[in-house]
Amino acid sequence: MEFRSVAHVTEALSAARYIPSTEIATVVFLAAATRKPILVEGPAGVGKTELAKSISLCMDRPLIRMQCYEGLDEAKALYEWEYAKQLLYTQMVRDKIHSVVEEADTLAEAVEKISEQEDAFFSERFLQPRPLLKAIQSEKPVVLLIDEVDKSDPEFEAFLLELLSDFQVSIPEIGTIRAKTIPFVILTSNNYRDMSDALKRRCIHLFIDYPAIETEKEIVRMKISGIEEILLDKLVRTVANLRGLDLKKRPCISETLDWARSLMVLQADTITPEVLASTLNMLVKFKSDAELVKERLQTVIA
């Protein structure tokens, strides 16, 4: 499915249960229209990965996800030669090789004959595509999510460049593989380190912050039906206050949802310091954070 306008993106994403701001919708629309990758920045848990999933859902394209980490190399991201298979095949077709070189009179001629067959061993048959190659080889256009690209090494960025600007991959033994279909590429970053200018230049940039109170309410309302408006208001404001504290890990949207669910289960109709204290481990994930919040129970509650 193609997007027709910014409003259409908003509509489609909302239908896929993702509530975008105008900025998000505009950037997604432009990226789809100009086939440029999006680089999404923002704190952990604001729905960067979720955005990619929702886009794949509403564009009706399969999602190929690649999680980046330190030490990720092209063998795991792009392609790998299946050496074991190659070796196995050499063993199996030994007789055939023998027959090829049989008629050769000299050693040089034999080598010549074998080298004619070289292509058989460095063909796509022995190439194992990894996520990036898979994404551009797919017959049906896909959504490619390159998650936490800031965790990867600077070297990895270098071979992303060719892929992102020209949608092609150069393999020395075979040549250049061009994209059959252009994927919709989304890169996410937690700002662990700054990305190189060359990579940034190839992408459209989008920053997603923690949602505004109204937006967050809407999200909770959508995911958890039947939550009471008064409780919801108090809940979202309390979480917003918690985010203002000096915590090791600030509660993100999914934690708001978890907390809301657990409050529903406990049938709490309002938030008191006691309720917060007893359900605190849904929101904060460090012991020291929990202690910090416990000292300020009264002020945190909106």
Partner: protein, 470 residues
């Protein structure tokens, strides 16, 4: 539209944003797809293309506002529609006055050119001038021994004088040219000039600080050690000092163990065909033993800058001891000490045992610890002589209280360093509450760091070392 976008991109560049031609082209091609009269969409589009990092967003928004709101609505909008609409009396009057100022001031007008352009709705040259003043690097003249850090200030002052000169002239001319029976125009023109000149004043005096959202500011610690852990380094007795040193030494060794474990458990790489086949020769060509290509692990490098001036006296010795043990354990550690000049103390640390080495930092490194601390000057010197030490694999560790005696802080050099290295971590031996007081430039520098934390007692130090990822 194209004119406007290129003009705007030139302004962005003048304000220090990196906007490449490619991005302008992208922007133009994308404008076809959206309704440019929808401001939010228009702004999102420009922002998505021109700003590639959250840090630059505030700067962009400021320029955007200046360009599309303050200047456009007050002048350009009407001017662009010249062909159809005659100019409003106000626009005409402003133009007349600007012309008149140009004539009246004659020779001097050259110097005022940028400002006059700015008033006429073209801020690029003026922004450039402001940017240059902000980034001015002190030229140390050899003839005058006294070091001056006032260049930036005096340049700013001369622009301020120009602004005032124009303000007077404009008000005077507006009065002279006043057409009878048209009182609103005069008031409007007066208001226009005051507003625009006030704005230019703001642009000039306010330092732009990027919004550093990714900054990690750590202030809490796990209370690991009772009593001794909470005492500031400055108040430790010699015996306590020894104990503290033991603890930190142990920690640094632990850090090293962690690093070695990473080596031991590193992943095996791809199959090394050449070696495998060579070995297969022993088994009649059957590749029984597979050989893999090992990947060398990324080696972290540390460059440490340690303030050794009087104000951080007690903490400095302590930090030097930590640096010493770090350097003992890891290969890629470079240590520098500074007060108002920078010295490489790595060789001193290599050649001497710990206590002697620290003494020698104060006596032999060539740093005069009695000088006033000057972070700006130290950064300038570092850039001159040691910038090549920073690479994308370097963690830059800065230890100091950021009290720079009201000298020019040169934060743009720190920004440049950030672009060149992997992470900048700032350890401040003062408690968080005093950071913004007096001559502390911590809040200026904070904008460019990846992580800042107070580090004044053992518990804080222990937490830091344990969380240090190289």
């Amino acid at each position: 539209m194209l004119d406007m976008i290129t003009k705007f991109s030139a302004c962005c560049r003048a304000a220090g944003l990196k906007v490449s031609p490619l991005e302008v082209i992208d922007c133009m091609s994308q404008l076809r797809f959206i309704d440019a009269t929808d401001e939010e969409a228009f702004r999102s589009l420009l922002m998505a293309n021109f700003v590639k990092s959250r840090r630059d967003q505030p700067r962009f928004l400021e320029i955007y506002h200046l360009f599309f709101h303050e200047l456009r609505t007050s002048f350009h909008d009407v001017q662009e529609e010249d062909s159809e609409n005659p100019e409003t009396p106000k626009q005409k009057r402003v133009k007349e006055i600007l012309e008149k100022i140009r004539e009246d001031l004659g020779d001097e007008a050259e110097a005022l050119q940028n400002l006059l352009d700015y008033l006429g709705g073209d801020p690029e040259a003026f922004l450039n001038e402001v940017q240059e003043i902000h980034n001015l690097v002190e030229q140390r003249s050899l003839a005058i021994k006294v070091k001056s850090n006032m260049g930036q200030l005096s340049n700013r002052l001369s622009v301020m004088l120009k602004i005032n000169q124009i303000r007077q002239k404009a008000l005077q001319l507006a009065g002279e040219l006043d057409a009878p029976g048209d009182p609103f125009t005069k008031r409007e023109i007066d208001a226009y000039f005051s507003k625009m000149l006030d704005r230019s004043f703001d642009l000039l005096t306010r330092d732009k600080r990027p919004d550093n959202v990714a900054l990690r500011q750590v202030n809490r610690t796990d209370p690991r050690f009772e009593e001794i852990g909470e005492r500031p380094f400055a108040t430790l007795t010699p015996t306590e000092m020894e104990r503290t040193k033991e603890v930190t030494d142990r920690l640094v060794r632990k850090l090293k163990d962690m690093a070695t474990r990473r080596y031991a458990s590193r992943n095996k790489g791809m199959l090394d065909v050449r070696k495998t086949l060579r070995r297969a020769g022993r088994f009649q060509g059957v590749p029984l033993e597979l050989h893999f290509r090992d990947k060398p692990l990324r080696k972290g490098k540390i460059v440490a800058l340690c303030d050794v001036s009087g104000s951080v006296w007690s903490a400095a010795r302590f930090m030097l001891a930590i640096l010493y043990s770090l350097q003992e354990c890891f290969n890629g550690v470079k240590s520098f000490a500074f007060v108002s000049d920078v010295a490489d103390i790595t060789p001193l640390f290599k050649a001497n045992p710990v206590n002697e080495a620290i003494e020698k930092v104060f006596s032999e490194s060539g740093i005069d610890t009695r000088m006033l601390t000057d972070y700006g000057a130290s950064f300038v010197r570092f850039r001159e002589r040691h910038m090549h030490e920073l690479s994308t694999k370097t963690t830059l560790l800065i230890i100091g209280d950021a009290r720079s005696n009201y000298q020019n802080p040169h934060q743009e050099i720190l920004e440049e360093m950030r672009d060149r290295c992997r992470r900048i971590i700032w350890l401040n031996p003062e408690p968080l509450t005093t950071w913004s007081t007096g001559d502390s430039e911590m809040f200026t520098y904070k904008a460019h760091c990846h992580e800042v934390r107070p580090c004044r007692n053992l518990n804080q130090l222990v937490t830091f070392i344990e969380e240090l990822v190289l």
